[in-house]
Symmetry: C2
Subunit: 135 residues, 2 copies
């Protein structure tokens, strides 16, 4: 599912910008209009509008209507997508780390010298971001 892949790219990409992260942070406290959001930044309203488009396309934000205003609402669900991705590989890495520790401890006990290229530098045939099976 390249769709999911795409989505994740857009979400991470959206949050790679400090202004956009700041907007998300502020929207967590409550909806706001474009003008309100733009106020603290030293950029044009159009630039802020663009940022919001990026956030919207990443699914982080929704825009509705209220007369000529366009209230922006944080859609916190996408956070789960990121958290899941992060958690999966964090855990995997930690488990591996612990296993390596055990291996090293055992080797120390046995007095083996060649610890370096023992279990590390794993070959490349590993599930690539669960291609076609993403949650």
């Amino acid at each position: 599912m390249v769709e999911q892949d795409d989505r994740l790219s857009r979400v991470f990409g959206a949050l790679a910008d400090p202004t956009r992260r700041d907007m998300v942070a502020r929207l967590a406290a409550g909806d706001a209009t474009v003008g309100e959001l733009a106020a603290p930044y030293d950029v044009s309203l159009q630039a802020v509008s663009k940022h919001l488009k990026v956030l919207e396309e990443a699914g982080l934000v929704r825009r509705s209507r209220d007369a000529q205003r366009r209230p922006v609402h944080l859609d916190a669900e996408v956070f789960d997508l990121m958290t899941k991705w992060i958690e999966r590989y964090r855990q995997q890495a930690e488990e591996r780390y612990q296993r390596l520790d055990q291996v090293l401890a055992r080797m120390q006990g046995a007095g083996t010298d060649d610890t370096a290229s023992a279990d590390r530098t794993v070959s490349a045939d590993i599930p690539h971001e669960q291609r076609g099976a993403a949650g």
Copy 2:
């Protein structure tokens, strides 16, 4: 602390690329050399080397030496930084959502009509990503 801000930008930015995310996923299963990492992708070794530089500068990865090889190791600690950022605002948004639900429920009970502009569209003076006080 713009440093932290910067870091987060680099981390999110690094993970905004699907190839780089894939690399991280594979590195979670074990260290690998540049060549091993490059193998599955249809790009030059130099391009992969560049990607690794981005990951390294984001603090996601460390590179050591083993003769002419440069084994790459995933540094899963940065994940915490991201997770913390995400969790903070997710929770905030969820709490707010629940509070809004309560307000709306109370309003329905009282038969108030003007639910729209009641508590929503909060003004913009909100802690901006905790400037100067980031965790």
